[in-house]
């Protein structure tokens, strides 16, 4: 018998069948991975289990008995909890309030926060989920936000836990501890559904894995006895090469030059950036590595003009751009794949087509005499959809909000790479993409570089850093502590630099 069985689920959206007669069976106490390309229908399937969508066909069984899940409240009653791909926390509430929200204990109408606080603290201690209960959610890191989401489920004593791409936004260290937490929970007899695009994580954490392809269930396999190659072949329907073919870099003139960049922190805090100097040349991919929160975001904001600079100088192609406006930088040939796709990257209520021209809507290609050229815009979006294999129910007319996470990311990538920039600043560009798409994006980045363009890549993933960069800058507490060649540095060494245990003398 299964704790949860979803049988013959079919769910349609305008223009697309997101789930087509899908059956999954979850055993008690197992970690069950769900794998599939971007837009394969994983989030949709889980949202159905959580009661957010109503399927056209199919039924759900809990412990063998058919149940109806008409909404998250029903799901909670059945002991089902979910951590969403894009978190759903109330930003100006504290961590504690967020955890309790919707399940408050009251006494004569007055909130009883004291008992709740104790319970939350006890849970946090027991599962090693470190949180700051009194901080507002807007002030905590993504990693902590996720721990809050997990505690929310534990607070409700959920038995069935759904994690929708929990690791996409985490640092390797956080992923490690998340997996441990999940294993601990499973050992206690809770059952976990775990969506991820990273095969290593599946290998490490999951017992079984179900694979979805274009809405259809391809099959469920034992992870132990299935190779990564076999998994990805099931997912894509063809062999995927997991290695890149990378030619030697052919480095040319300097494109970006950063000199003594310093950004002060809020009063009483350390500098966000201290005396950062480096350069990026034509034909190379320079990677900024480091643990999240060591100044990478501030550096990118400063380079792209989203924030101002206190002291130091940034120049691009010989021109001083320290004070240049964002648009001037764009026109000089700087493109930017931002870290937070929902905050900066997309106007979620615009269509795919309108998002595709976000950086170029004002150019003669897309407007004449102040009027947008709708035909041209649609045509352009269609070419991007074609080239970057963006999957969306209603093509260029799809509202960005309704697209799957990975496909939203592809829209941004397509837009920025297609600007054919002299300098591409890419922050976590492959976050949330499936292996096939990652392969494609990496090859695109290499193509940029081989065409003599400069690429500055900010990544938290060591493997990505090692595989595609030509030079690695390691950031630690707002400083560049190492400038190394990926061919002559080991993972261990990088780890030491990143944790501040080691630093190069002359950076």
């Amino acid at each position: 018998m299964y704790v949860i069985e979803m049988r013959g689920i079919t769910k349609e959206f305008p223009g697309i069948i997101a789930n087509d007669d899908v059956t999954v069976q979850l055993k008690k106490g197992e970690i069950h991975a769900l794998l599939g390309e971007n837009g394969a229908g994983k989030s949709t399937l889980m949202s159905i289990l959580f009661g957010l969508y109503k399927p056209e066909k199919g039924s759900i069984f809990k412990d063998g008995a058919e149940v109806v899940v008409n909404g998250p409240n029903d799901a909670t009653k059945l002991g089902i909890g979910m951590v969403h791909q894009h978190f759903k926390l109330v930003h100006n509430f504290t961590v504690l309030e967020n955890i309790v929200l919707g399940d408050e204990t009251t006494h004569r109408g007055v909130l009883q926060m004291k008992a709740a606080r104790e319970k939350v603290l006890a849970l946090s201690k027991r599962y090693g989920l470190e949180i700051d209960v009194d901080k507002e959610v807007q002030d905590i890191s993504v990693g902590m936000q996720q721990r809050v989401e997990i505690l929310k489920m534990l607070y409700r004593e959920n038995e069935i836990l759904i994690f929708d791409e929990p690791t996409a936004v985490l640092t390797p260290q956080e992923i490690e501890s998340l997996i441990q937490t999940m294993q601990g929970l499973a050992a206690e007899g809770r059952s976990i559904l775990f969506i991820t695009h990273k095969l290593d994580e599946i290998k490490q954490a999951a017992n079984r894995c179900s694979v979805l392809r274009k809405g259809k269930m391809i099959g469920t396999v034992e992870v132990e006895t299935t190779s990564k190659e076999a998994l990805s072949e099931m997912m894509v329907g063809r062999k995927v090469s997991l290695s890149l073919d990378k030619k030697d870099a052919n480095v040319g003139k300097e494109i970006l030059h950063v000199k003594n960049l310093t950004i002060k922190g809020e009063t009483g805090h350390k500098n966000k950036l201290t005396d950062v100097s480096f350069h990026v040349r034509e034909g190379e991919i320079v990677c900024v590595a480091g643990i999240e929160g060591n100044g990478q975001t501030d550096l990118v904001y400063a380079l792209t003009g989203l924030n101002g600079i206190e002291s130091g100088q940034v120049s691009m192609m010989g021109q001083d751009i320290t004070k240049a406006k964002i648009r001037q930088r764009g026109e000089l040939g700087m493109a930017h794949i931002p870290e937070d796709r929902h905050k900066h990257g997309l106007v979620l209520d615009y269509t795919l087509a309108y998002n595709a021209i976000l950086q170029r809507y004002y150019t003669p290609q897309f407007q004449r005499a102040g009027f947008l050229k709708q035909g041209e815009i649609t045509h352009y979006a269609d070419t991007l959809i074609e080239r970057f294999d963006i999957r969306a129910g209603q093509g260029s007319e799809t509202i960005a909000r309704s697209m799957s996470g990975g496909n939203q990311q592809k829209v941004i990538l397509a837009r920025e790479i297609d600007r054919d920039p002299h300098l591409l600043i890419a922050v976590q560009p492959t976050r949330g993409l499936d292996v096939g798409a990652i392969e494609f994006i990496h090859s695109q980045l290499l193509k940029q570089r081989d065409a003599g363009k400069a690429v500055l890549l900010v990544s938290l993933e060591l493997e990505e850093v090692m595989n595609i960069s030509d030079r690695i800058l390691v950031m630690y507490e707002g400083e560049i502590v190492a400038n190394v060649d990926p061919k002559s540095v080991t993972y261990q060494e990088l780890g030491l630099y990143m944790s501040g245990a080691k630093r190069e003398v002359n950076v």
Binding site: F13, K325, I326, L346, V347, D349, L372, Q374, I399, R401
Partner: protein, 386 residues
Amino acid sequence: MKTIINKVKGSGAGLSILSSGIAVLAGLLIGLIILLITDHTQAFPAFQTIITVGFSSIRNFGELLYSATPIILTGLSVGFAMKTGLFNIGASGQFTFGAYVAVLIGVRAEFIPPSIRLIVSVLAAILVGALWGAIPGFLKAFRNVHEVISCIMTNWIGIFLVNFMILNTIFDETRNSTMRVPGDANMPGWGLGELFQGANARPSSVNSGIVVAIAVAIIIFIILGYTKFGYELKACGFNQNAAKYAGISEKRNVVLSMMISGGLAGLGGGLHFLSGAGITMNVTDTLSYEGFTGISVALLGMNNPIGIIFAGLLIAYLQQGGFQVQHFGFVPEIIEIVTAVIIYFCAFALLIKSFFSRVGRKRADVVAEVEQVKELPKIEEEGSDK
């Protein structure tokens, strides 16, 4: 019912109309209940009057067009700002300021020939409305003062400043209001008054103003939907961070948007008091009715310029009914209640709408919509959510 719902479910616009329609029906129903409670013998005839009066005679229809003119414009003012993420509740002040300047020029600038004087005074009304709207715009853009607060302040400052200026420039003591603008410096009638005259009655007050209002609505519709400028404005309204990332100057857009919004309200004021219908500005210390009704009109029209035309007509229609129920011994305020209920249901309509379209949409988005309703400045036209 279900099939109708299913039919319109596909299109966002259909859904908007459906939910606005439900709001109107609910408002009327509650109006009827109140009529019944007040005086059940007269309730049904009075209710019938409310429903039919605007169409009861061709002249009444003309009056309807006349009173719809200013509220379509203030509705556009609020709706336009809302589309760009701003809540302009300062339309009252901008309306009053525009009106004053238009009347001032109409009365005092006798050195300009009347037909040109009309153009000058209408343009001046737009300009002054825009400037009065620019103040909250600047405060928002450069000092991060919430526009609702500064709009409330500019409303009251506007009212008392205008009173003061009326008293010192164009006050007519015998009527305790402004002097009249000479006939030929008013909006031309274009024969509309006679067209909507009907048998044995005076011509109605409708004039070329309604044509201007509708034309302006269409222009705003085109700007928002089809131009580069509209693209920028809406991007700022939907997601300021993304707009900034795209190199759009949010500060400039906030100021421009408030200026356009103010200009629309100012134009409404100008057209209203240059209608030639003989109305003059009173010296009172209440905010102009038209400004506030603009909020209702915008809400009912789901911030869509074309929707606002119809919403303006509808509210004007109800007001006419409110005037008429007095013949049955009811107070005209009944209509205020009906309008208010409609507006409540309109805000609620966003919920009704997401209720109907929930199949296929995330509950979480519904929650987001509830938050939008709570946080008025963020109410967006949901019709775009195809």
